[in-house]
């Protein structure tokens, strides 16, 4: 039987004032296994700890119970003390007789009685304790960033700058993401391309960074420190080694009617294309859906035009498998579809645009070459109306319940840009609230209103109608209680943003949950905002929730730091209190696998010894590195095969028994 020592702390008068410490020492002497019990003024002090160490040696104790303050306070202290005396640190149990006893009870007799019970429960548990040893696993010192927008680029750069290798997987042909589509950025009005392009180039040139553009993550296995990821590189039909990016192919391409996604579909592009001038890599890709060669077999002009012989119609998708220690999700966002907002004439009128479309119109590289024109007739508008919160803050089943966070600021920016270039255009913004928390944000918005004369009206637009070649906007001014009818030439809708739909598939592969809006959930909303619940998977940028560029960059850096913290370790030491499956009891039913939040349980066919016979059975295997020790599986397991080390069924029942004795 285990030899147990019990140490009852006075905690000065904190415990001893209400609990008769000596009586507790005496009462527990009769408990099974207890060979030694004593009390001390302050167990956590050096004197107290050395008393523990001494007793362990002197009485050859196999385990100790400390009756003191909350284990949340000093469990580690006492475990270390025990370890110093050669005891396994998990052979220490704490009876919380301060927070849960002396501090809440007045009556000394009652408190003493309860302290004895709590101590008994700890002894009963300790009698069933087993030495525990944390598992160790290695760390592959490379990181994967999924998504090559500003979030992904920044995370990758920060990791690479610290000396670790990073791969970026981006599904489109270039990195840059949404930010590359923007004209200017708030609140400084500096040009998006001017600040983004250098980062794109830096990422491409960085010796520690590899770019997998036009690529997708296909499969993920493994766990923190050692993920195996299958990446599919889609066929560009252009040999990236040979191409020199001259662009001759694009000029010669006869198929020029494909919708240009970079311009949000407002312009056309050729079948072979580079998304935009500063694309990284500067490498064309053939859109096989639009290419005559692929659709009809009759063309080949690009091949002829290419002096580098880089066009390769036979090219196929390539799949590579890489190992990583950490994965960062930076899958970004898109503006939601406005199909269900017909009252604003979005689908009917070319002059009703989303903000991102309008951004392209404002952009010098955009469909109008930067001149502000009505797409319906190419004329300069006289009046522009901005409508806020289209699809955001909705509870009607069509939109999003959340605030998209960036619209107030970019609308102010766009209004200001319009007014700056064309002071004669009337600009009206209909808003519900203007939300400007952020450094220099409110000042920025006030500048739009005060310095540029943008008219802000509190109230929503009810409908937009085409009328006599213009748009009639019916709205309300809530402060005046007036209904307004405004003639406008262009209407810009601040569409709600939503996570990129591709994120769902990736989330499922990595066992990262999504909330009801499809944003990835954090490990803890306040304290672990850039970590996903799956160890080794981190979140960066919009995929976690709406945020603007500075916030995205800040989060990208934070995610990078978390990755670095992980990669800088040679070994990962786990929490030894993890689930353990008894393979002789396991039915292989997979109940535990279904609810494990960490994907820590897998099943395999295994030879199992049962009553002296060998049988092949499907049994659960717990990955100790991935398991976080919640214990959900232990209750889901009908056969009782799954147990939790440190909190076994027998231990908890022994505590129950001791308390109810």
């Amino acid at each position: 039987m285990l030899k147990i020592g019990v140490f009852v702390c006075w905690c000065g008068s904190n415990i001893a004032g209400t609990v008769d410490v000596k009586a507790v020492v005496e009462a527990v002497k009769a408990e099974p296994g207890v060979v030694f019990s004593t009390d001390y003024q302050y167990m956590c002090s050096e004197g107290g700890q050395s008393a523990i160490r001494q007793a362990i040696k002197e009485y050859e104790l196999g385990g100790v119970v400390i009756c003191a303050c909350s284990p949340r306070m000093h469990e580690t202290t006492f475990r270390k003390a025990a370890e110093a005396a050669g005891l396994n640190p998990y052979m220490v149990e704490i009876a919380n007789i301060r927070e849960h006893c002396s501090w809440i009870h007045k009556d000394k007799e009652e408190a003493t009685e309860k302290a004895v019970v709590l101590c008994r429960a700890a002894i009963a548990k300790l009698n069933l304790n087993k030495p525990l040893f944390p598992g160790e696993s290695g760390v592959v010192k490379r990181a994967l960033v999924i998504g090559g927008g500003i979030a992904g680029i920044q995370t990758a750069l920060d990791i690479a700058d610290a000396g670790y290798e990073v791969d970026i997987v981006e599904k489109s042909p270039t990195i840059g993401g949404r930010m590359a589509q923007l004209d200017k950025t708030f609140p400084t009005l500096d040009c998006a391309a001017c600040i983004l392009t250098p980062k794109m180039v830096e990422a491409a040139a960085h010796e520690k960074i590899r770019l997998f553009t036009y690529s997708e993550v296909e499969e993920v296995s493994g766990y923190v420190g050692s993920f195996r990821v299958k990446i599919r590189q889609k066929a560009r039909s252009v040999n990236r080694e040979l191409c020199n990016g001259c662009g001759e192919c694009i000029v010669k391409c006869p198929s020029k009617t494909a919708s240009n996604a970079f311009d949000e579909g407002l312009s056309k592009r050729s079948a072979i294309y580079i998304p935009f001038a500063q694309a990284v890599p500067n490498l064309p890709v053939i859109d096989r859906e639009a290419c005559l060669r692929f659709q009809t077999g009759k063309c080949g002009l690009c091949e002829i035009a290419c002096s580098a012989k880089a066009i390769d119609y036979e090219q196929e998708d390539e799949t590579i498998t890489e190992e990583y220690g950490a994965i960062v999700l930076a899958t970004g966002y898109r503006p939601m579809s406005l199909d269900r907002y017909d009252e604003f004439q979005y689908s009917q009128s070319p002059d009703v645009l989303t903000s991102l479309e309008f951004e392209r119109i404002l952009n010098a590289s955009g469909p109008t070459g930067g001149s502000l024109l009505r797409l319906s007739n190419g004329e300069k508008p006289k009046s522009i109306v901005f409508i806020q919160c289209v699809g955001s803050r909705s509870d009607d089943g069509c939109g999003k319940s959340y605030c998209s966070k960036i619209c107030c600021m970019y609308t102010a920016k766009q209004a200001m840009l319009v007014k700056d270039k064309y002071p004669d255009i009337d600009v009206t913004v209909f808003y519900i609230d203007v939300r400007t928390p952020g450094k220099n944000f409110d000042e920025f918005y006030r500048r739009a209103a005060e310095a540029y004369g943008v008219r802000y009206v509190k109230g929503m637009v009810g409908k937009v109608a085409e009328w006599k070649g213009r748009l009639q906007v019916q709205a309300v001014d809530l402060l005046e209680d007036k209904q307004l009818l405004i003639d406008a030439d262009m209407v810009v809708l601040a569409a709600a943003i939503e996570p990129d739909p591709g994120a769902r598939k990736i989330g499922a592969m990595l066992a990262v949950n999504m909330d009801q809006n499809d944003f990835f959930t954090e490990a803890h909303p306040k304290l672990r905002p850039v970590e996903s619940p799956t160890a080794g998977v981190f979140l960066s940028g919009m995929c976690q929730g709406p945020k603007d560029i500075p916030e995205t960059v800040a989060q990208a850096g934070a995610a990078a730091v978390k990755v670095l913290g992980l990669l800088s370790k040679d070994k990962l030491v786990g929490n030894p209190c993890v689930a353990i499956s008894d393979e002789t009891l396991c039915n292989g039913c997979s109940s535990c696998e279904a609810l494990c939040p960490y994907d820590a349980i897998t099943f395999e066919e295994k030879q199992v010894m049962v009553q002296g016979r060998r049988e092949t059975r499907r049994v659960a295997m717990v990955n100790e590195t991935m398991c976080q020790g919640c214990g959900a599986c232990t209750v889901a397991c009908p056969s009782g095969a799954m147990d939790l080390k440190g909190f076994t069924n027998r231990q908890i029942m022994a505590e129950v028994d001791a308390i109810c004795r």
Partner: protein, 328 residues
Amino acid sequence: MQRIIGKMREKAKELLEAGTVDAVLGWKKGDFAYDPTPAFFYSTDELDMLAYDGFCGSNLSKYLVEYGKEKGKVLVFLKPCDTYSLNQLVSEHRVDRENVYVVGVGCDGMLDVQKLRDKGIAGIEEIEEAGEDLRIHTLYGLKTCPRDEALLKKCQSCKGKEHKLFDDRIGAEESRDIANEDRFAEVAELEKMSPEERFAFWRAALSSCIRCNACREACPVCSCHTCIFDNARSGVDAKANASEFEENLFHIIRAFHVAGRCSDCGECSRVCPQAIPLHLLNRKMIKDIQSFYGAFQAGDSADQCSPLLSYSPDDIEPDAFDRWKGVM
């Protein structure tokens, strides 16, 4: 359903001869009019002993759990309700679907010989199905009984005549329509009682328990290699109910362990030698699951997730369970 036995034998013969299957799991003729036994048939010349009549109530799915791969592929005859159980076993990886050839057989509702005995019919020698009636030849003369009055409890509220999985079917369209009582009606009756009355009801019922484990052994989802109640290391093992508490514990935990997995096949009540209405506990769980978490029946398909292994952020609070009473 004796009318389809010919086709069943033909099918079994065909598949055994073709080598498609290595064994046939069905029912074997017994000594009396009402006691066919589940049995494996390994050769075609045994097949004349294959039986299918009104007393084939046993759910053969359970036998597939222990059916090892080394024996090869097996043809199993399943009634519609039995297929729910097999689906559940397949979903729990307890049966390899590839290893089983399912022939769904039609069902007229199965009979309970005890119901005849309870009517005072003793010395049963032969039972004929004559339309809506049973003609029972006994040592003490000819007796008759309406067929519907001799149905097994589980067949009084049939989940339907649809086979939820099968490779082939025989007589599925010919299943006789039987009175289909609301399967939750009994549960609802109990819910209406006061807690004291319910307590008395269950005390009376469970105190009859002799812990023979028939309910557990017959239950297709109670398929643990070692039950916690047999496992000396579980801390709750017992061979008898040595106190009222243990009578309760065994059945509460059993119902909880099969919650979300129980296909409501009714075997627990059918096999209980003490006539304890054990299915009510399981049905209560099914009813609760449906009213708390939406439509769900284990065994409907092999790829659905048990409600106890999933959640919704806006689930009801545990203390609010009784507000949902009577919703179903």
